[in-house]
Symmetry: C2
Subunit: 281 residues, 2 copies
């Protein structure tokens, strides 16, 4: 496994791989890797000849007062995990390699970025789309894998790829949970044991919504009400939003008559968590 | 010479060319080609194995009330000219191939797009950056050629390529003039003979500025004053702006101590024209 820090070196390597007809898979991450990241890596390994994992805590997707500075980092641990998975390259640039002085170009996916996390984290999806466009031009993958945990992000990336004609196949990776039901996230490390217990209501409430749907309720408003009411009594858990959107277009829907996602964000203690379930699939 | 209308077909061709190690050159145009476009094509022919010329009147770079609908088109004439130059591919997509229903992604180069044409044509550079990013992902060139006539546009593209890490070399092509001094432009066709006579003051005034610089005047304000004063007495010519900017960074400068560009835009009759000269080169 080779560690690359420079953009030009990564591009040269990718150009060489492409000339020999190798299929490149990219798994973009912010590091502090857990089992859910590794499931994306395994997916890339299956689909591609060469796997590149990028590790970059991207400052342009953090707002003022968010956790850019304290976002957990563990390069040694990450490297050991990726080595074991048989990853070929880690691309791990410094911030000033990605955003040198005078940086000023941004990619914006307008509609899909609206609502949900887009409302609570202004500029977040612009930062994500921008850094992913950069990573695509640096690594030149044939395939890139994004987890469904960040469902809105996945759709933002898919729309960007479609609109800007990136010749890259975006493959979703299913959301992976711990044994207690918590959606895996590097940010779970911020939670105290007690906060984590409280946070379990998030997935439980989504399951309540999903079960209600499966028992025949198709009205989004009724499903959302059930989710909200199950979270409300839990102390120390503040819901930011829960919404039901079309799972492909991310448009608002009133009746669930095709695949849809129930997505929520909540603050538990001082930690912002997101989770979702797909219904109708 | 092959005519391609579909994005996927162009991408397949480019992928095939790249696998065989061919160097691809792209000359993006809006068609209605003249000698200045052909000079860019010849430059691409010299630098690359395969030359693609795109012809696309890009709606996202036209504002309301601008000349998108009446922009001159002549595909047959363009094809004949490009065939003669030995161009390999014309990429000439329909508008709905480039911007299908639901299109929503835009690229913005913030600083370089400000001022000058950016002030008079809001959204213009966003439209240009977006379509060029798309063309880059479709044609996958090693080299792309842009004329210095659209000087601010050239710098917007260069900055976008640098910031988004497109692995593409941007080559400028010098501004080409007709015998009477008019900067070549597809829009010159809108001018009546009398308007064209009046419009000649634009280049003349730029030369007055350049000569003043060469005779020792380095103050931008003095150079600009000379340009403005030479245009003012000419009936039917309304200056939108004249500015002096650093020729590399496009930053405002007070004293010309390195390469700079004097750039202007003016309305002649009902036609908006731009022109520039580089000083200190």
């Amino acid at each position: 496994m080779k560690r690359i820090q420079k953009i030009s070196e990564m591009q040269e390597i990718s150009n060489g791989l492409k000339r020999t007809g190798k299929r490149i898979g990219l798994v973009p991450t912010m590091g502090y890797l857990h089992e859910a990241h590794l499931s994306l890596v395994r997916k890339a390994k299956k689909l591609c000849d060469v796997v590149v994992v990028s590790i970059f805590v991207n400052p342009t997707q953090f707002g003022p007062g968010e956790d850019f500075e304290r976002y957990p980092r563990d390069e040694a641990g990450d490297s050991a995990k990726l080595e074991k998975e048989g990853v070929d390259f880690i691309f791990i640039p410094e911030v000033n390699e990605m955003y040198p002085s005078g940086y000023q170009t941004y990619v914006e996916v307008e509609e899909v970025s609206k609502g949900l996390c887009g409302d609570f984290r202004p500029g977040f999806f612009r930062g994500v789309a921008t850094v992913v466009a950069k990573l695509f031009n640096i690594v030149k993958p044939d395939v890139a894998i994004f987890g469904e945990k960040d469902y809105q992000q996945l759709l933002v990336i898919k729309k960007m790829v479609e609109d800007l004609n990136f010749d890259i196949k975006i493959i979703p990776g299913v959301l992976i949970r711990d044994g207690d039901g918590m959606a895996m996230s590097s940010r779970n490390t911020y939670l105290s044991p007690e906060e984590r217990q409280r946070a379990l209501i998030l997935y439980r409430s989504l399951l309540i919504g999903k079960n209600l749907y499966q028992s025949g309720e198709k009205k989004a408003s009724a499903l959302l009400k059930a989710v909200k009411e199950s979270i409300k009594p839990v102390d120390g858990v503040t819901l930011q939003y829960v919404e039901i959107r079309d799972a492909e277009t991310f448009e608002k829907i009133e009746n669930v008559d095709k695949n849809a996602v129930i997505a929520l964000a909540a603050i538990v203690g001082s930690v912002r968590l997101i989770d979702n379930v797909i219904i109708g699939r």
